[in-house]
Symmetry: C2
């Protein structure tokens, strides 16, 4: 039997992938960043089938990334808003968009530019840094077991450290 779910992985990427690792979820989160809140506005913006949108919104609610709340006191209409956990995807989503800007559309051909509200200038490229501020590439990092490592994760960390 092969895995269909990543839920039991002792791994932050697996868990994050299980929570937001599908294209419709990424589009819903993008739209929530734009300010989209209602079911019909998501349908219009993404062009997604209603049953898929319902399923994806439920999934994002289960993972506490989106919350459903009445539009106003006593209203029977609902809106879908990012939770604090959903807001916290901000750096990952911006980094993903910058990757698409550069590697899919190319410099000077970006469809939409994210700008700082104050200066109206494009953002700095999101980058990975050491605790002392040095910019790092994939070749400058390695992985060690954390406090929450299972036996298997410990083994993976040991293998990686021998390999790198």
């Amino acid at each position: 039997m092969k895995r269909k779910s990543l839920e039991h992985f002792n791994c932050s990427w697996a868990q994050a992938a299980e929570a937001v690792g599908d294209k419709w979820s990424i589009m819903i989160i993008r739209d929530a960043f734009y300010g989209v809140k209602t079911f019909s506005a998501f349908v219009k913006s993404i062009g997604i089938a209603k049953n898929i949108l319902t399923q994806r919104l439920e999934h994002l609610q289960k993972h506490e990334i989106i919350e459903k709340r009445p539009v106003g006191l006593g209203s029977s209409r609902f809106e879908y808003c990012l939770t604090e956990k959903g807001f916290a995807l901000f750096p990952a989503i911006i980094a993903l968009g910058q990757w698409g800007d550069k590697w899919i559309f190319g410099e000077g051909k970006e469809p939409l530019i994210v700008v700082d509200m104050e200066s109206k200038q494009p953002l700095e490229q999101v980058s990975v840094k050491a605790s002392d501020g040095r910019k790092l590439s994939l070749r400058d990092i390695t992985f060690v077991a954390g406090e929450g490592a299972s036996e298997n994760t410990q083994k993976t960390a040991d293998e990686i450290s021998k390999f790198w």
Copy 2:
């Protein structure tokens, strides 16, 4: 007819989601970051069905994120390596893992810690910054049409600017 593909979206998030927005692709890229290269090593590490792995590797090759190459001169065995475009996902993938560390496992319960090879210390949290280095939150940014904006994207940018 509702959309099934995001390929025709004039949007970097849609294009990025189409390229890497599924959980198996995220796991394959994670593994490539660890140093995994062969088909059998991906199967073992992810516990993925071989037909899904084949399909996902082909998809990542089509999007030029992974390349397949002979293990050595004249070898009939192959390995799967990140291209420069694949390497460039580094900030997005690190940000996603840090999100999982904090919001799924929680501080002090991380399975695996990414450390800087030089200091052996955990990385800084990936963050979004203005061009002058100010740290920004979602509330500090907005979106403007870029050089590559379609008519629709231009409309979206106008709507967002009124909303924000």
